[in-house]
């Protein structure tokens, strides 16, 4: 099993018949980028501090590729291939309960993927582990 992430997608169904198209797993780079974006800008010598306004938001931005959400005119609010700041603005325009629902769906997806990855690792370790080879001193 390769240690590299394959850029696969998963469609998550949410309420009202809507869906989210999300990354199956984040790469190390995507995860680190998302984490860096929840830190407040600081100057040299200043303590790092979390930007609470961006906590949760960055997880959604990191995972979300597309969705079915429409505006009041019935037009899809475009997030596919949009820059992160455009996606952020669209997410922040949501009703708070919709934001929470999307965040919860992505957290649940992330947790399920982490469990699946651990199971894959265990299966792989079990399959490849063999008894050590000792050299003879004779």
């Amino acid at each position: 099993m390769s240690r590299f992430v394959i850029p696969e997608t998963i469609k998550l169904e949410i309420s009202q018949g809507d869906w989210l198209l999300v990354k199956r797993r984040l790469t190390a780079g995507e995860e680190r980028h998302a984490f860096a974006r929840i830190l407040k800008p600081t100057t040299i010598g200043e303590k790092l501090a979390l930007d609470l306004e961006r906590t949760g938001l960055q997880k959604i931005v990191a995972y979300l590729l597309d969705w079915s959400l429409e505006d009041h005119q019935g037009r899809i609010v475009a997030v596919r291939d949009q820059p992160a700041d455009v996606v952020e603005r669209a997410i922040l325009d949501l009703e708070p309960s919709s934001f929470q629902e999307i965040h919860a769906a992505i957290v649940a997806h992330e947790t399920a993927q982490a469990v699946a990855l651990e199971a894959e690792k265990k299966a792989r370790d079990g399959a490849t582990r063999s008894s050590p080879t000792y050299t003879s001193v004779a």
Binding site: I6, P7, E8, T9, K23, L65, I76, R80, D81
Partner: protein, 104 residues
């Protein structure tokens, strides 16, 4: 755009993608159907010639399962990439495509 009796799909934008990841962002592109000649007919082949606009992800470009993806107002048009050659300059590419599919 009509050339002779054939409809030649052309466009600007889109990308060669490996999953959701962009392997090569495209500028102007043309997909030319090729059936050979009346004397030497061959199964339909679709040949993509495209300008590359932006950085190429060479690792992604070497993966199996690449697709050309052209966004539409709702969904996208996609083609499987069967063979691909990147111009040595990195500024253009040529590819053999599978049939066009609609992605919602």
């Amino acid at each position: 755009m009509l050339q002779g009796h054939r409809l030649i799909p052309t466009g600007r934008g889109g990308a060669i993608r490996w999953g959701y990841r962009i392997a090569a962002p495209l500028g102007a592109w043309t997909v030319t159907p090729d059936r050979g000649t009346p004397e030497a007919p061959q199964p339909l082949r679709r040949i993509l010639r495209a300008q590359v606009e932006g950085p190429v992800d060479t690792r992604a470009l070497q993966q199996p399962g690449l697709r050309m993806v052209v966004p539409r107002p709702r969904g996208a048009l996609t083609w499987a990439i069967l063979e691909l050659a990147l111009d040595p300059s990195g500024g253009a590419l040529t590819a053999l495509l599978g049939p066009c599919e609609r992605q919602d």
